[in-house]
Amino acid sequence: MTSSRVLLTGVALLLGASLLQAQSASIAATATVVTPITVTGTAPLAFGTVFQGVNRTIAFSDLTSGRFTLTGNAASQVALTFTLPATLSSGANTLPINTYDVRVNGTNVTAGATALVVTSGVPVNSNFVGGNLFVFVGGRVQPAVAQAQGSYTGSIVLAAAYTGL
């Protein structure tokens, strides 16, 4: 009798166990640790002496174009956000600046630099090349016929952030 009861119990347990389905799946947790981005303004956009009523343009490739140097991770994509002033100031006087020409290159030369379509405050993507990115900024000032004499300045700001790509 003992053996029969054990057999029935075993069967009941087996039936009970088969009602519990279990499945597993695996996903991954991933991350890439990268070096922080550094942004350095290395040269101002310098128009030099300008004359009343005479526009002056500095090309991105000119020696006095504005320059930024960025370092970061390998070939990672980076979002560049420029703040481009609409005027330079000298006390209460302003001098319009516009027609910016912004280019980037993986080496610190202007030859072969790629033009960026830049709107002030709007991120535009580019990529590091071997962890480096060089930015060249040209532009145009438009002094009025009665432009007040003086020294005019403004700030061009570049912010950079990884996009994750």
Binding site: A25, I27, T32, V33, G164
Partner: protein, 160 residues
């Protein structure tokens, strides 16, 4: 309306619970499908980064298909670190790091703690998506590189 309820928390969305009227009911297949890894993306040494469970482009996601009315137990095996060779990067999961949704959207999500087994009843749905977020804490001296770790989700169908 499809509906999912967390039995342990007694949370009922805009749906109603109903009990199976029969003591025995044939169960359909239990299918667990990985949909997306938990991706923290780029991390900077010394800067903690959180991925919320409902950050749909980054959270880990698994779809579980079962029979309507089934009660499922969800259990995660969570890593404490991600690895890149011999280097480790600490991970943590909090009380609301996980979520479940019958619609794979934040609309009807039920938050839960992935560190403990949690039961859900498939009230009127036959499938749900389980989301997982977390906190990555790279050290200030964290070595650069790609880090990874497995996350295992085990689903047990407890019946009706």
């Amino acid at each position: 309306m499809s509906c999912l309820s967390a039995v342990r928390t007694a949370f009922v969305a805009s749906c109603s619970l109903f009990l199976a009227l029969e003591s025995t009911q044939a169960q359909g297949p239990l299918v667990v499908r990985p949909l997306q890894d938990l991706s923290f993306g780029f991390l900077i040494p010394g800067v903690n980064t959180t991925v919320d469970a409902l950050q749909l482009t980054r959270s880990g996601q698994v779809e579980v298909q079962a029979t309507v009315g089934a009660v499922l137990e969800v259990r995660y095996t969570l890593p404490a670190v991600m690895n890149s060779g011999a280097n480790t990067l600490p991970l943590a999961f909090g009380a609301t790091s996980a979520g479940a949704s019958a619609s794979r959207t934040p609309i009807d999500v039920v938050r839960f703690n992935p560190n403990v087994a949690t039961r859900f009843r498939y009230v009127t749905t036959d499938r749900a998506t389980f989301f997982l977020g977390g906190l990555a804490s790279p050290r200030t001296t964290q070595v650069t590189g790609a880090y990874t770790a497995p996350v295992i989700i085990t689903i047990t169908n407890l019946g009706f």
